[in-house]
């Protein structure tokens, strides 16, 4: 199964380990991601959109136009890119006025977008193209007894009009992947709460209040780790965890893994190949627990 792969800016910087782990597990699942040549920033939710909506849609359109010639579905690992590209794609398919204006901007650069591309998240590929059974068959290392809190966040499942593959209120796709690799999911009430996203940059205290929620409830539910499908959520939950601990005077120390890193552990892939040494909160205790199995 081949896909046109849109990495996105985070994947090339802070979230590299998410992709390292994805590429490592893909070999076991017959999934091939072919990078879209010369891709550019999607527009990042409302970072560019609030400043200039037409520019944001055009940035996404350039990527979609390049991808269209590849004749494959576009796949991204990032929930924010998934949302931003999908929103632009919908508008280009449904709003003739926008389509006309965007065409003007991209046609002169020699690009054309007919509107035939499907934008999908990697979790959709695992759920619907690969299937949980195929994932189960590749398990080599037992994750028995490992308790995982799946954190869906927002843009993987929520917005209307995107290529929906899971329930926005009670999503289960990650729960099913976690169960397929032999780990346990824990119930905690915050799996679809918002982490505050880019408020990390502009309103850090608001973001910390928002991210504290899932960290604390997952910890109280006795999770060994949280898993996420989104680089922005990962940044707030993992890289900012120390700041949240000191700001509120609480102890969390909860490892946060990308969903691909958890799958990779179950497939017996060495932690280093999964980039687990790049996670800010040490997953040491978790790795110890896996080793003892």
């Amino acid at each position: 199964m081949k896909y046109a792969y849109f990495p996105g800016c985070s994947i090339h910087a802070s979230a590299k380990e998410y992709a390292m782990a994805a590429h490592a597990v893909n070999k076991f699942l017959d999934v091939e991601l072919v990078e879209i040549q010369d891709w550019n920033c999607c527009g990042a939710i409302d970072a560019v959109y609030a400043y200039n909506p037409l520019l944001s849609i055009s940035l996404s359109a350039r990527n979609l136009a390049i991808a269209e010639s590849m004749k494959m579905d576009v796949v991204t690992l990032c929930s924010a890119c998934f949302f931003t590209l999908s929103r632009a794609n919908n508008m280009l398919q449904e709003n003739a006025d926008i389509k006309g204006k965007v065409d003007k901007a991209i046609n002169d650069a020699g690009l054309k977008y007919a509107g035939g591309v499907k934008v999908r998240h990697y979790m959709d590929i695992l759920t619907n193209d690969v299937g949980f059974e195929k994932i189960r068959q590749q398990v080599k290392t037992s994750l028995k007894g490992v308790k995982v809190a799946p954190y869906y966040g927002c843009l993987l499942v929520r917005p209307t009009g995107i290529q929906r593959f899971d329930d926005p209120e009670h999503p289960t796709s990650m729960d099913r992947v976690i169960e397929a690799v032999g780990a346990e999911t824990v119930y905690y009430p915050d799996k679809t709460r918002c982490c505050g996203a880019s408020l990390a940059i502009t309103d850090e205290e608001v973001m910390m209040e928002m991210t504290k929620g899932p960290l604390v409830t997952a910890k109280n539910a006795k999770a060994d780790c949280i898993v996420t499908p989104c680089p922005m959520c990962h940044f707030n939950l993992d890289a900012k965890q120390k700041d949240i601990e000191s700001h509120f005077g609480i102890d969390i120390a909860l490892p946060v893994l990308y969903i691909t890193q958890l799958i990779g552990l179950a497939f017996g892939i060495p932690p280093k190949e999964l980039g687990l040494n790049r996670n800010v909160v040490s997953p040491g205790n978790l790795l110890q627990k896996v080793k003892l199995n």
Partner: protein, 195 residues
Amino acid sequence: MNNNQSHQVTHETPDPSFIEEIRKMLGGDRILDCIQCGVCAGSCHARFAMDHSPMQVIKMAHLGLKQDVLSSSTIWICASCYTCASRCPRGLNIPAIMSGFKNMAMKNNVPAPMELKPKFHKTFTEIVGKYGRMHEPELQMKLIQKTSPKALLHNASLGLRMFRKGKLKLQPSKLDSSTHFTEVFKKAASAGTTE
């Protein structure tokens, strides 16, 4: 951080053209369908940091209170999580409406309660225009200049944490421009501002 002390709505003269302006915005066409049920207000994960709830902001928009809407912290705090939109029984795209208000506030030079906000959007867009991709350290550096030494130190600590883990990419990732990124960016940017 908490701006939840509901600030007094001013007695500004209602602007009857405001609602038509909103209805022309992307995602704003359904604003009059709001029934003030409060699902958005009750669902909002960032409500604690807003002066008015999303429901109140929409009512203020119905009433033509343009200045009150555009100067509220609500429109800037909205993190586009889409919880409200996915639950709205009337199908309003509330985060898109909030983005539209941010856009209007920036175009009309209405000061934001959080001064970093408009700068964030502008700087983010400029960096994307420069490299084609986001370069996070540059965004952080440009946004921090005006704030306190304490904030600087705090950011340095995060930077170090990221650097040690190989998560801080000092060099920006650039495009080879084979498909004329700059041309697309410039054309779309000017088409978008003259809207």
